[in-house]
């Protein structure tokens, strides 16, 4: 399960995944906490996050590597889908 308010789009989970089942895109926005006068800082804002459960092997490495605890185990009672595309759970289904 994804706690998207904690996700910083750092890409660690995507890059550590041994089976490449996570996809993520983000865009940069000006950081409102950036101090005035200094260089405008940016933060990454999550656009898209998906886990392909047709590929995921439930190793939990993504959960282990996330430095912000934005991913956690959750009980999914039924992962049976009728198509490969439906097995890709997007942000709405993961949060």
């Amino acid at each position: 399960m994804l706690l998207d308010d904690k996700c910083t789009s750092c890409m660690l989970c995507v890059r550590e995944c041994p089976v490449w089942c996570i996809t993520l895109t983000a865009h940069a926005e000006p950081d409102p906490a950036s101090p005035p006068g200094g260089r405008q800082r940016t933060i990454n804002v999550l656009d898209h996050f998906a886990i392909d459960y047709g590929v995921c092997m439930f190793c939990g490495i993504c959960i282990d590597v996330c430095p912000f605890e934005a991913l956690e185990w959750s009980a999914i009672d039924n992962l049976v889908e009728t198509s490969r595309e439906a097995a890709v759970h997007d942000r709405e289904r993961l949060t």
Binding site: S9, R15, L24, H27, A28, V45
Partner: protein, 157 residues
Amino acid sequence: MITEVHAGGWSAAATAMRDGGGAWFGLLTAVDDPAASTLDVVLVVGGDAGVADRGLRCTLDRADPCLDSVAGLWPGAAFAEREVHEMFGVSFLGNLDLRPLLLPAGVATPPLRRDAGLGRRASTEWPGEVEPGDEARARRRPVRPVAADATDWVVKL
């Protein structure tokens, strides 16, 4: 405890293990060692109450791995032998149903041999290549974990 046996003594050792209280089939799998040109087949059986799990290991020639079937001793082993046949290319003499479970006909190298190339991975785009946010400001490009060559991930021994 795992006992090493020769291919010729496989059936006898398995029979002795079953008759000695190893009534429950546990697992049958193989370990490929291309450096030594061998393929180990491992069998583990569970004991009756009070009897510990035991196993057998048999080192086979990688070029032509061939072993007697133990499906007559534990019917459940037939399916595991079918799988090991498909994934490692081991022939089990006496097992009459070694049809492939998953693979289409004509796969050259059994996929769990260490020299089997992972072609699909070489042709798949790595999702980690995407740089989130301001791509122009990324300090360094992420390094794809495997090279483009289909066999490059094979462990060099």
